[in-house]
């Protein structure tokens, strides 16, 4: 397409992930990132790819989060997600429009899809980035990601191949505010693949019970091995409730079965960025920190003054959590009762 005399417009693409007419918030986070990248990449524009079935109504929201153009691929073969039709549809679009950068959420689906697209179009893909920037020298994407269990950060460049692809985990990037702009350019993209061409059929979905979506909680009270057992989490639950937040956990306590895996925060759990993170009885291993160091403020409670968690906490209380947490519940409740009476 862009092999005329005119220099190509650098397009920054974001894949919009939707499930049952709900857009995954990571897509908005990526649009926010795309806009920041566009500011550093002269002449570039932010565009979105929206594959699915009966999803046109979502386009309006996509525009509000800053996409100037939306490519809508709306076909029944895309109704339940399957790798092949999605990968083929999106790859064809990539080959047609040759975007400069392509961002995808590192969700289960995003990871399934991104590797397949990158291989189809023969380009590089950097997974699970925590930071995206435009390298000022080469005007290319500098995608930074943790490796070796979060012990090392590596900035990955894709010099000659396009698009430069990256996936980013939910909540690693801040949630942008929607803009007040009107609708942009909606491009309907035809896609001809019929159900018979898809080798994988979805027989059924066994729904998990609604797991707590801790990723988007504003307040998290997290407990680690120092909590001592499942009973300790009852205490944390009480504090979380008083603060209008949710309970989080380190891996060993999940492994020990003190609390459900859905609560695990860290490298192999969830990434969170609450306004307030209270870490009680958590030592602060690097694998835990990578999941929560984006929090607004961090309060650590630990009996060991040398616990590494204090190195990243905005405030540390050195003491026994079984003294501190009940007192905190008492003071918070006292305050909220007083407020309630006032109102």
């Amino acid at each position: 397409m862009n092999n005329g005399d005119q220099p190509a417009i650098p397009r920054i693409w974001v894949l919009i992930e939707q499930q049952e007419q709900q857009v995954h918030p990571v897509s908005w986070e990526l649009l926010g990132a795309a806009r920041r990248l566009a500011a550093d990449l002269p002449g570039s524009i932010v565009e979105a790819v929206l594959p699915g079935y009966q999803v046109e109504s979502l386009a309006a929201q996509v525009f509000r989060y800053g996409a100037e153009r939306v490519y809508l691929i709306d076909e029944s073969v895309l109704a339940p997600y399957r790798n092949l039709p999605y990968a083929v549809a999106v790859s064809q679009l990539v080959i047609t429009y040759q975007p400069e950068i392509f961002l995808i959420g590192a969700t289960t689906r995003g990871r399934d899809l991104a590797g397949a697209i990158a291989t189809r179009v023969g380009t590089g893909l950097t997974a699970d980035c925590t930071e995206l920037a435009i390298d000022p020298a080469g005007k290319i994407l500098a995608a930074t990601r943790p490796t070796f269990g979060g012990n090392l950060m590596a900035t990955i460049l894709c010099r000659r191949h396009r698009p430069q692809m990256a996936t980013v985990r939910p909540r690693v990037l801040p949630m942008p505010a929607p803009l007040d702009t009107g609708p942009g350019d909606l491009v309907r993209v035809p896609f001809a693949m019929c159900e018979d061409d898809v080798p994988v059929k979805r027989l059924r979905l066994i729904r998990a019970e609604e797991r707590p979506n801790i990723e988007y909680a504003d307040v998290i009270v997290a407990g680690g091995r120092g909590v001592g057992g499942p009973e300790g989490f009852v205490l944390l639950e009480e504090l979380a409730l008083a603060l209008g937040g949710m309970v989080g956990a380190s891996r060993p306590v999940v492994d020990a079965g003190w609390i459900d895996p859905g609560h695990q925060i860290g490298q192999t759990g969830k990434t969170v960025r609450p306004k307030l993170y209270i870490a009680a009885g958590i030592s602060g291993a690097v694998q835990h920190r990578v999941g929560m160091s984006g929090a607004g403020v961090i309060l650590a409670i630990n009996s060991d003054p040398h616990a590494p968690i204090f190195q990243i906490a905005d405030l540390g209380i050195v003491g026994d959590l079984f003294d501190v947490i009940p007192e905190m519940i008492r003071q918070v409740k006292g305050y909220s009762d007083a407020r309630q009476a006032q109102l």
Binding site: Q19, N83, L84, A87, T108, R111, D112, A114, G115, A116, A118, T119, G122, T123, G124, A127, A142, T147, F148, G149, G150, N151, L152, M153, T155, L157, C158, R159, V200, K201, L203, R204, L205, I206, D218, V219, L243, G244, G245, L276, L299, P305, Q311, I312, A313, D314, L315, G316, I317, V318, G319, D323, V324, E327, Q331, V332, Y335, S336, Q340, L343
Partner: protein, 283 residues
């Protein structure tokens, strides 16, 4: 039935240390292990073999030392192991890795077409989860990632039903064979290898394949040359700076908590949540 499993030897990341001065990884002394998901993939393949007969072939691309990981697969019940090792393969990113593995699998398919190809869900040294999907694309076979169970498998009718974990729950998918799965640990609990297998494995020598023999790989698609991505720089993450410390032993628990609530603005949080539940806007 022929199952092919791709496995990787990785440094045990729970043991990785960083040189504080250079910010680089100290690999020396870090034990190398088989990628934890991959051994479950081997186990799943071995269980299929026990049910349907046939063969399990494991392959890896890596340094000569990676033979150790292959031997471990033989212990777990694999029949044949292939080590793709050559300096020319070095420096591969996921695109180049998926090319090499796919090309090797094609060669194996020519001898005995695989009914199922298994990968781990991700390698713990890079956590990319890209190589499996990449190989499925190259082989043009169906892909099911994050598989947690094989409900049924029919090498004659050439179909299988596979459970896959997604955010909303578990998807039950029917697929044509051959299929490529990337697996979670639940796919099959790893059994302790029996002593006779240990003995077989101790004497086993993996087949070594280079970039030229017995299969020729396209030199432009392997190693550094075949890799679109490069590492620009690597560094240790800058720690978030720590703040003040209050010690309960010094000031008492009541004062410590009061201080924390104040400094952290926790009461503001409470204020807004109380207000919200009372339906009041907070300025």
């Amino acid at each position: 039935m022929h199952a092919i499993v791709a496995i990787k030897q990785v440094p045990d990341t729970s043991n990785v240390r960083i040189d504080p001065e250079t910010g680089t990884l100290i690999r020396e002394g870090v034990p190398a292990i088989i990628n934890p998901y991959d051994i479950h993939a081997v186990e799943a393949a071995v269980q299929l073999k026990e049910q349907f007969g046939g063969r399990v072939t494991v392959i890896t691309m890596g340094p000569p030392k990676a033979a150790e990981a292959l031997i471990e697969c033989i212990e777990q019940g694999a029949d044949r192991a292939i080590l793709l090792t050559d300096r020319k393969f070095g420096g591969a990113d996921t695109l180049a890795t998926s090319y090499v593995l796919a090309h090797a699998i094609e060669a194996l398919n020519a001898e005995w077409p695989a009914d199922i190809i298994l990968f781990g869900k991700q390698a713990i040294d890079g956590d990319t989860a890209q190589v499996g999907p990449g190989v499925a694309v190259r082989l043009q076979i169906p892909l099911i990632t994050y598989a947690i169970a094989i409900e049924s498998f029919d090498p004659v009718a050439r179909t299988a039903v596979v459970h896959r974990r997604i955010e909303q729950g578990v998807e039950v998918l029917q697929t044509r064979l051959p299929v490529l799965l990337t697996v979670e640990k639940e796919i099959a609990p790893v059994r302790r290898a029996p002593l006779p297998r240990m003995i077989t494995a101790a004497r086993y020598q993996p087949e070594v394949w280079t970039a030229e023999t017995p299969v020729a790989f396209d030199p432009r698609q392997i190693g550094l040359k075949g890799s679109p991505t490069v590492v620009g720089k690597a560094y240790t993450p800058a720690p978030r700076a720590g703040g003040a410390i209050v010690t309960v032993a010094d000031c008492g628990v009541e004062a410590a908590v009061a201080r924390a609530l104040e400094v952290m603005g926790i009461l503001d949080t409470v204020r807004s949540s109380v207000a919200a539940s009372a339906g009041v806007e907070v300025a």
